[in-house]
């Protein structure tokens, strides 16, 4: 399982899980769940288009993801945010459908773009994935404080000269770059799951940001490692394990949070003090 070409798989998946864990933490924090689902689908169109004209796949991925992010960011200001996201999402997928049908790789290409083809990773994509992943994480660290501020208190941020608009756009672009690189590994549809599940679970266990990021990455790594191992044995798609394990982590987190909440409630119930009035 750890021979030659499999090492590429392990490395690629590890990088993807780390990126997803970090980016996902912010996506969940900001409630950008829908955008996190939509942007990788832009990547789908890009890859299909690139393969159609014979261009570099990663380039196509990047171009379309970024275009999607730009679309959501700028359009989302004029229209309802979720309507804009929905329309950009289906537009990207529709274009992707067109590219695929014009090409001739139809079935397999669709499946692998959407659900991932982690066992077919060639060594030369490892470096670009690694570099772009590192850059994305670095960029997130750079805008960490404005990002946290605008996530929690947008009005205050605006008053202090930090434009929520620009920060949102920057975040979407980072998400686009990060996920476009990782889509070939886990696929457009499941990249989102890897971002959301572990991060959401992490937040149920701790409120401290740094710890949450670490937990988010940890859950993500566990998910892909288990997934690859089982997938290697059974030949079942990695995406299946990512989706299911992500949900399992999330449910565990929710259960933990509600148990802890109930314990707090019980300790508070003993003192039934009427609230003191403020005149």
């Amino acid at each position: 399982m750890f021979s030659g070409f499999m090492m590429n798989t392990w490395i690629a998946a590890t990088i993807v899980a780390v990126i997803a864990g970090v980016v996902g933490f912010f996506a969940v924090l900001r409630g950008s769940t829908f955008a996190a689902h939509a942007i990788p689908n832009g990547a789908f169109a890009g890859a299909a288009g690139a393969s159609l004209i014979g261009a570099n796949t990663l380039l196509g991925l990047a171009v379309f993801s970024v275009a999607g992010a730009l679309g959501i960011g700028s359009f989302g200001r004029k229209a309802r945010h979720d309507v804009a996201t929905a329309l950009i999402l289906v537009l990207m997928l529709g274009i992707g459908a067109l590219f695929i049908s014009l090409g001739d790789q139809y079935a397999q290409e669709t499946y692998s773009l959407l659900f991932g083809e982690v066992f077919g990773i060639s060594p030369d994509v490892l470096l670009p994935i690694g570099i772009l992943g590192a850059l994305s994480v670095l960029a997130l660290l750079v805008i960490f404080r404005p990002l946290m501020l605008t996530s929690a208190m947008p009005e205050v941020a605006a008053a202090r000269g930090v434009s929520p608009r620009r920060v949102e756009m920057a975040f979407l672009l980072i998400m686009a770059l990060a996920t476009s690189m990782t889509v070939p590994v886990v696929g457009a549809l499941l990249m989102f799951s890897l971002m959301i599940g572990p991060a959401a679970a992490a937040r149920s266990f701790t409120a401290r940001p740094w710890l949450a990021v670490v937990l988010s990455v940890a859950f993500g790594l566990i998910t892909v490692w288990i997934g690859i191992a089982i997938s290697y044995e059974t030949d079942w798609p990695l995406g299946f394990f990512v989706g299911v394990l992500g949900a399992a982590f999330f449910l565990t987190g929710r259960a933990w949070a509600s148990l802890r909440g109930r314990r707090l409630l019980r300790s508070r119930r003993s003192s039934a003090v009427p609230a003191s009035a403020n005149a």
Partner: protein, 300 residues
């Protein structure tokens, strides 16, 4: 008009079936979509479609007609979403997202297993992007019936839904079972989404759900006008999409038609953008432009 209406269009039986089913799908999706957009549930509507994909691929796996798979999973997911019912919108979105992720994972598995056991290729594409030109005539009555049912339910609920969206407290005080209405609406949404998934694919049924409705809401003021306008736009877009898809067989590369889902999606987006010519975007009142607002929960 020869260049627009290629020979044999209306004589072709698959086209007639496509137009019939497409019309029902468009009207139902548009009317349901008006409420979906108003209640800010675009993500939920899209997720239901993706979850329905799992059902479709599962049905494909066991050899059932995909529509029943879509329907079963869609309705189950709708009820589950209502049960999850987290208070804050962000929490609900995350929960929806996780359910979506799990469902897509299952879909991946079903499609994979299906491709191992049968020789039909292109299942992924069909399940996700639809097959309006290859709908079996025997399923047409079931498709139309479910569309009509969903439409009737929504129209019957329309007033109550609007009242609930306006103020859940006022509605509750007047005896409206807010939760039950929410579930009924979601079930109608699930049926509508399953229907459109068969026609233009799970992933793109969102286009007919959200697009015409969002467009209509920008130009129509009252509830009845909004629903009728949305339906009209949906039908127009579908007919034109079918027409263009049929014609595209004669476009380069010859002998290969472009997918109808592409045309429908493109037209939907174009229609929506056109409203910005007529009514330029006004500044939204929210203080944090561009950042998803933390909204007060409106409706179930």
């Amino acid at each position: 008009m020869h260049w627009l209406i290629e020979p044999g269009l209306l004589a072709s039986s698959p086209v007639r079936v496509a137009v019939l089913v497409g019309t029902v799908v468009a009207i139902t999706s548009a009317v349901v979509g008006v409420f979906t957009v108003t209640r800010g549930q675009s993500f939920a509507g899209h997720s239901l479609a993706d979850v329905a994909t799992t059902g479709g691929s599962g049905a494909f796996l066991v050899g059932l007609n995909q529509f029943w798979g879509f329907l079963a999973f869609g309705v189950a997911a709708a009820v589950m979403l209502e049960v999850i019912g987290v208070q804050r919108r962000r929490g609900r979105d995350v929960a929806t997202g996780v359910v979506l992720g799990a469902a897509l994972g299952l879909a991946a598995l079903f499609l994979y297993l299906g491709s191992q056991h049968s020789s039909t290729t292109g299942a992924s594409f069909t399940v996700l992007f639809g097959s309006i030109f290859v709908i079996q005539p025997s399923t047409v009555p079931a498709l139309i019936a479910s569309g009509v049912i969903a439409l009737i339910v929504i129209v019957a609920l329309s007033r109550v839904l609007l009242l609930t969206s306006l103020s859940p407290d006022v509605a509750a005080a007047r005896g409206v079972p807010v939760r039950a209405v929410g579930v009924a609406y979601l079930v109608a949404l699930a049926i509508s989404v399953s229907l459109s998934s068969v026609a233009i694919g799970a992933v793109l049924s969102t286009a007919l759900l959200i697009g015409p409705a969002a467009t209509a809401l920008r130009v129509a003021k009252g509830p009845v006008r909004a629903m009728v306008t949305a339906a009209a736009i949906g039908v127009a877009v579908t007919w034109l999409g079918i027409l263009l898809a049929y014609d595209s067989y004669y476009w380069p590369p010859h002998g290969h038609a472009w997918p109808v889902s592409f045309f429908i999606v493109a037209l939907v987006v174009v229609a929506y953008l056109l409203t910005y010519l007529h009514r330029p975007a006004r500044r939204r009142r929210s203080p944090s432009l561009g950042t998803p607002r933390a909204e007060v929960e409106v409706g179930a």
